[in-house]
């Protein structure tokens, strides 16, 4: 069983903790040894010989062993902690890493429940097996020292019981596991049903759902019954290993007594059997079967891949922060040369003025300034891209070709579910294309080059695709921490405050930043509105070094003015390329080029071309606003009432 193999590896890894645990276990087991021995001596040398004082003395020694043993017990817990807590830490690390990488909500229950179950069952396993080992050793040594003949009577049935237990362990563990799986299945099933009670009632599907739940309950009941029946085997193990020695001791007593075993030794042997061996065996038999399988099940859930290595499955997710960033460090620490005021003017407040032809120097380190001039290719180049979610699914994107030059502003439009977010996910490296290639600033997003490269190479070559683009999804990520931490999340080091403030002003976060109390203020995502969270995510992306910004409906919770301000800020980043999955027509009209996604086809063009060429685009813009075609230039831009900024883009 892999659990046991893993357990052994773990014990080897924590040799010192194991040694300490063993040492204290010996102290604890002294009691098991002395209880029977002292009793035997107290009888033989004391009470049966008429010397009450000697007898009491031996019993006193036994009492002392109890107290010393109790101290040993106490320290044993510390030893178990030294073994269990690192494992728990490792599991927590693993679960968190997996949750962060895979975005799997199941990681949460893994963290709060399954890790705890693993911790408890693992500790239980260590406790029980160790306790049996040392208690049995203590008792057997005690028996031997009373009279080796006693060992001859007690050891064989004990060994037989143990062997039987070991033999029954695999089938018992299988049944235990079947039961646990059935139990989890019930929990999963009910977890899906309970939030949908309204839907079930509305559909009149109560009977059907009840039947479905009933089937799972019946499966668990069957598993529990089978487990209970196999439980008889445990009783047999106990009877053979623990009770049979008692009977044998009595049956062979005449022979033992005739061969020099003293009455005290016989009583001592009976005490060893009933008070040390039987309870220890009981704990072992009941504890090991249950916790072993429970631990196996839980560990399989927590660590689905047998070797728990740190690398994620998706190559694109691997890239961490570059380990050494000497080339960028000066950039980061240098004071921003564009002042706050200058940055502010980069975005015309009304959005109506001409775009600054020569943007004020970008205070952010761009890849161009990072020492590796990525001169190859356009900002985004998509070649023959095809993607399907699975072998049984129709492709979402088929044979798409797209080239976005540097500094361009592209809007992607189409009905929901058509594949716009999928395209963004592909460019961002979240999804692997079925075929075709994607390059960001000449760097491949997928494939070997983007994946299997040792970390030490990173400083030696140009930035990876991962560093070249930043994705801002619809669901903005804001974590509990300071605002500065949130904003600087995509930067290797801390971001100077002036730069934070300048970025906030450019994107439109300044109001919220003031309200919260500056960059150092703590942020609690739960107290922020969806729009405020989006502003934080946008500013974070703005501060990143990535020249290609992918806004996947990243402004859907903002009002049109705020959206415009944010989008213009991104468009104004020098060398900055923006791809926007448009949420409003205003957003699409700001872009020079529009990609219309219609099923598997896609059409690229500017507004006028598309109105002519794409019926879907006409449909979209038509249903967006009927007023738009009637009067393309209403008096006020960013009109709140109609929700589009109808000024056409330069």
């Amino acid at each position: 069983m892999t659990v046991y193999r893993r357990g052994l590896r773990l014990l080897r890894a924590h040799r010192r903790a194991v040694a300490a645990l063993a040492a204290w276990s010996v102290v604890e087991a002294g009691q098991a040894f002395l209880m029977g021995y002292a009793l035997a001596r107290a009888l033989d040398a004391g009470f049966l010989a008429g010397r009450a004082r000697t007898g009491l003395g031996w019993l006193g020694a036994g009492a002392l062993a109890v107290v010393v043993g109790a101290y040993g017990t106490r320290r044993v817990y510390g030893g178990v902690a030294a073994l269990v807590e690192p494992v728990r830490d490792q599991l927590v690390r693993h679960v968190v890493a997996r949750g962060v990488r895979e975005g799997d909500g199941g990681a949460l229950s893994g963290l709060t429940q399954q890790v705890e179950i693993a911790r408890d069952t693992f500790a239980g396993l260590v406790m029980v097996s160790r306790s049996f080992l040392f208690t049995a050793a203590g008792a057997l040594i005690g028996l031997c020292s009373l009279d080796p003949l006693l060992l001859l009577v007690v050891a064989p049935p004990l060994a037989a019981g143990l062997a039987l237990f070991v033999l029954t362990l695999p089938p018992l563990a299988r049944r235990q596991e079947a039961f646990l799986v059935a139990d989890e299945e019930i929990a999963d099933h009910l977890g899906r049903i309970c939030p949908g009670l309204r839907d079930i009632m509305a559909a009149g599907a109560e009977a059907r759902v009840t039947t479905g739940a009933g089937v799972r309950i019946a499966v668990e009941l069957r598993a529990a019954r089978s487990l209970a029946r196999w439980g008889v085997l445990r009783v047999v193990c106990l009877a053979v290993g623990g009770q049979l020695p008692l009977v044998l001791l009595l049956a062979t007593a005449p022979w033992l007594l005739a061969h020099g075993v003293t009455p005290g030794a016989l009583v001592g042997a009976l005490a060893y059997v009933t008070q040390s061996l039987l309870p220890a065996l009981q704990n072992l038999v009941h504890g090991l079967g249950t916790s072993g399988s429970r631990l196996a099940v839980v560990l399989r859930r927590l660590t689905p891949d047998p070797p728990p290595t740190a690398s994620g499955r998706d190559g694109a997710l691997r890239t961490a922060v570059p380990p050494t960033d000497s080339t960028r460090a000066p950039q980061t620490t240098a004071p921003p040369n564009g002042s706050t005021g200058a940055r502010g003017t980069a975005v015309p407040p009304t959005g109506d003025g001409p775009r600054p032809s020569a943007p004020l120097s970008h205070p952010l380190g761009t890849p161009a300034s990072s020492g590796h001039a990525p001169d190859a290719g356009p900002a985004l180049s998509v070649t023959a891209l095809t993607f399907a979610y699975g072998p049984g699914g129709v492709p979402v994107i088929e044979n798409l070709h797209l080239r976005v030059p540097r500094g361009a502003h592209l809007a992607v439009v189409g009905p929901s579910g058509i594949g716009k977010s999928t395209l963004m996910g592909l460019v961002a490296g979240l999804l692997e294309p079925t075929s075709g290639t994607i390059q960001v600033n000449g760097q491949p997003v997928h494939g070997r080059a983007a994946r299997e490269e040792p970390a030490w190479i990173q400083p030696l070559r140009g930035p990876t695709a991962c560093e070249q683009r930043v994705l801002i999804p619809q669901e903005a990520y804001v974590f509990t921490g300071t605002l500065a931490e949130n904003l600087g999340q995509l930067r290797p080091g801390p971001v100077p405050e002036a730069e934070l403030r300048a970025a906030a002003e450019a994107v439109g976060l300044d109001g919220l930043m003031e309200r919260l109390g500056g960059p150092a203020a703590a942020v609690d995502p739960r107290t922020l509105s969806a729009g405020e969270r989006q502003l934080i995510a946008l500013t974070r992306a703005y501060l990143s070094y990535a020249p290609l910004a992918l806004l996947d409906e990243a402004t859907c919770h903002l009002d049109p003015e705020a959206e415009e301000r944010a989008e213009r800020a991104f468009a104004a980043r020098p060398g900055g390329t923006v791809v926007v999955v448009a949420h409003r027509i205003s957003s699409a009209r700001r872009a020079a080029r529009v990609l219309v996604m219609d099923g598997r086809r896609a059409v690229l063009g500017d507004h006028e071309e598309l109105v002519e060429r794409s019926p879907l685009y006409r449909d979209l813009t038509g249903s967006w606003s009927h007023a738009l075609t009637a009067s393309p230039r209403p008096a006020r831009s960013g009109s709140r009432r109609c929700g589009y900024g109808p000024r056409s883009c330069a």
Binding site: G55, E85, V92, P195, L246, G414, P415, E475
Partner: protein
């Protein structure tokens, strides 16, 4: 026919059998419990006789090893040990199967009840708590009958042991009883001090879990930014504290265990010392000493009794939590079938109170057969509740809802649910596969029916793109909020019926998709009527009439074009000063305030984050 008064008495009925839930469960496994009680009591009896027999056998073996009496007592001991093993086996099987049976019985009964009580249980308890009760508490409560059956034996063992000790020699019993209070005091002291570090441990764990929950929500951002390692490191910052508190917990537990393991052996040594002195004075035999030592061990088994009692208390507490679920009454259905009709819906004086406050207040509304009625209003005005009452997902406190002249409460479940279809803002994806979830309300749905419904709901295209198409498991389908909404619509279309209720079921759709679905939805259909909770002016504009709710009352009722003349009505759609002519019927000209998605296109809708509020 059920009047509201009936409903209220129905609410009171299940409150009564609160206590008897466990009794009913025990009755369900009555024979087993009796057998268990018998087996465990017999085992206790055998356990109490065994030390005496051991003692006699030992004495006889020491005096006359080959004698027939000695052999007889050895045989008695052997028989007792064998009997004990058999009883133990019986007890193990009986106890475990009884627990399993009772748990399954409780779960079946409660799942059935929760399903028939419907969404009220969720809104009262919360889905997570509900699952916890049905899974965890049912398993705990399921152990109650078997534990109770074994209680007599658990009580008899220490009591019988003390009596037996007294029979061996009263002075031994006195030693034990003198030392026992120390035992209880020490055991009690250790229960206290472990809770503080446990709380700190959980607090650190909670901080890690909180950070992880946030990061899982922002998974796309993190993955695209390649910052997973940094995020993980940040989230794991409280880990050293967790580790520290964890070790502390073990230490506290170790101290407690050390005390626990000291007391019983020391008591035993005390008894043995007195017995030894008595042995020296020939007032006891070696066999008596052995028996006394065994009885002392049995008597300290009072801890087992305490454990069993606290287990029973826990099981009863769990049963109480289960019984709380029963206080939410099952929805009673009538027996009538639907008469022929076109789905004429009438609400007469419908009032619903929540927490003593009327949430719907004397609503009178009629949707003519084959007609469409849109319901609009600010959030909190009672729109969703109106939709629920109209389809009998909730019952009104006062007033009546009729469908084609028949009160909803008089209809049989099949007649009612067959006649009324629902679609929701956030449908739950139930069933194994996407096809299952669309066919939820249809018995033996054909593939064509499912596909047609999906096509009408504009869901067919994206479903076919899923990894396994219609056979994709719901849990594996990467769906946006708008896509889930369309599956819910497909479910309603597949279901059919003479009344279709849409509770904000178009809110996350882009305008093009909404337009196509609305075409199908508002197509004149003489056989069925529609009640549509709407957020967008475009939707309201297509309906025959619009009911405007405000604070649970009907503020106005009329065609959209008529109501649109009022500025306050326009303000509902965030279209403050827009002239009425600019937003003609069929055009979503009135557009959004922040958060509203009325002008959205390609908007998948907020998948997990709060939508328009």
């Amino acid at each position: 026919m059920t009047t509201p008064a009936d409903t209220r008495t129905a609410a009171d009925i299940p409150a009564a059998p609160r206590a008897p839930l466990l009794r009913a469960a025990a009755r369900h496994s009555g024979c087993r419990c009796a057998a268990l009680c018998l087996a465990s009591t017999s085992a206790t009896a055998a356990n109490l006789i065994l030390p005496f027999a051991l003692g006699r056998a030992l004495d006889l073996l020491l005096t006359d090893p080959e004698g027939a009496r000695a052999t007889r007592w050895v045989l008695v001991c052997t028989a007792l040990v064998l009997l004990l093993a058999m009883l133990d086996a019986g007890e193990t099987v009986l106890g475990a199967t009884t627990n399993a049976r009772v748990t399954a019985w409780l779960r079946r009964r409660l799942v059935g009840h929760v399903l028939s009580a419907g969404p009220r249980t969720v809104s009262r308890f919360g889905a997570g708590d509900l699952v916890a009760r049905l899974v965890g508490n049912a398993a705990q409560a399921g152990t109650a009958p078997a534990t109770a059956a074994a209680l007599l034996a658990a009580l008899a063992a220490p009591a019988g042991a003390i009596v037996a000790l007294w029979l061996v020699d009263p002075r031994l019993a006195a030693v034990f009883l003198g030392g026992a209070p120390v035992l209880t005091l020490l055991l009690r002291a250790l229960a206290r001090d472990s809770s503080r570090c446990a709380a700190r441990y959980q607090e650190a764990q909670g901080r890690i879990a909180g950070g992880l929950a946030e990061a899982i929500g922002g998974f796309r951002t993190i993955a695209a930014g390649g910052t997973a390692d940094r995020e993980a490191a940040r989230i794991l910052r409280p880990l050293p504290e967790l580790s520290r508190e964890g070790r502390l917990m073990w230490r506290v537990q170790g101290r407690a265990a050390a005390r626990a393991v000291t007391v019983a052996p020391l008591l035993q040594i005390g008894v043995l010392a007195v017995a030894g002195v008595l042995l020296v004075h020939h007032q006891l035999s070696v066999g008596d000493l052995l028996a006394a030592s065994r009885y002392t061990v049995l008597a300290t088994g009072v801890g087992v009794l305490v454990g069993q009692l606290s287990g029973l208390v826990r099981a009863r507490a769990a049963a109480r939590r289960l019984a709380e679920l029963l206080t939410e009454p099952a929805t009673p259905y009538g027996t009538l079938h639907m008469p022929p009709g076109q789905g004429r819906l009438e609400l007469r004086g419908v009032t619903v109170r929540r927490g003593g406050r009327p949430v719907l207040d004397g609503i009178d509304l009629t949707v003519p057969g084959g007609g469409t009625l849109a319901v609009v209003g600010r959030s909190g005005s009672g729109k969703s509740l109106l939709a629920a009452v109209a389809g009998r997902l909730a019952d009104p406190d006062d007033g009546e809802v009729r469908l084609d002249g028949v009160p909803l409460s008089a209809l049989s479940r099949d007649a009612l649910r067959g006649a009324v279809g629902h679609a929701f803002e956030r449908p739950a994806l139930l069933g194994e596969t996407i096809a299952d979830t669309i066919a939820l309300g249809v018995r033996a749905a054909s593939v064509d029916r499912v596909r047609d419904a999906a096509r009408t709901a504009r869901a067919d295209a994206f479903v076919r793109r899923l990894p396994e198409g219609y056979a994709t498991r719901c849990t594996d389908a990467p769906l946006s909020g708008g896509e889930v909404q369309r599956l819910g619509l497909a479910r309603a279309f597949a279901h059919g019926g003479r009344l279709l209720i849409l509770d904000d079921a178009l809110s996350s759709l882009d305008t093009v998709t909404e337009h196509h679905i609305a075409e199908a939805l508002f197509r004149p259909s003489p056989g069925s009527s529609r009640l549509i909770i709407a957020h967008r002016a475009s939707t309201a504009a297509r309906a025959d009439r619009v009911a405007w709710l405000e604070g649970g009352r009907l503020r106005a009722l009329g065609p959209h074009a008529e109501l649109w003349r009022g500025a306050e009505y326009r303000a509902l759609f965030g279209a403050g000063g827009a002239a009425p002519e600019q937003c003609p019927k069929g055009s979503p000209g009135a557009a959004g305030t922040e958060g509203d998605e009325s002008d959205a296109f390609g908007a998948a809708g907020p998948a997990s984050e709060g939508g328009p509020s």
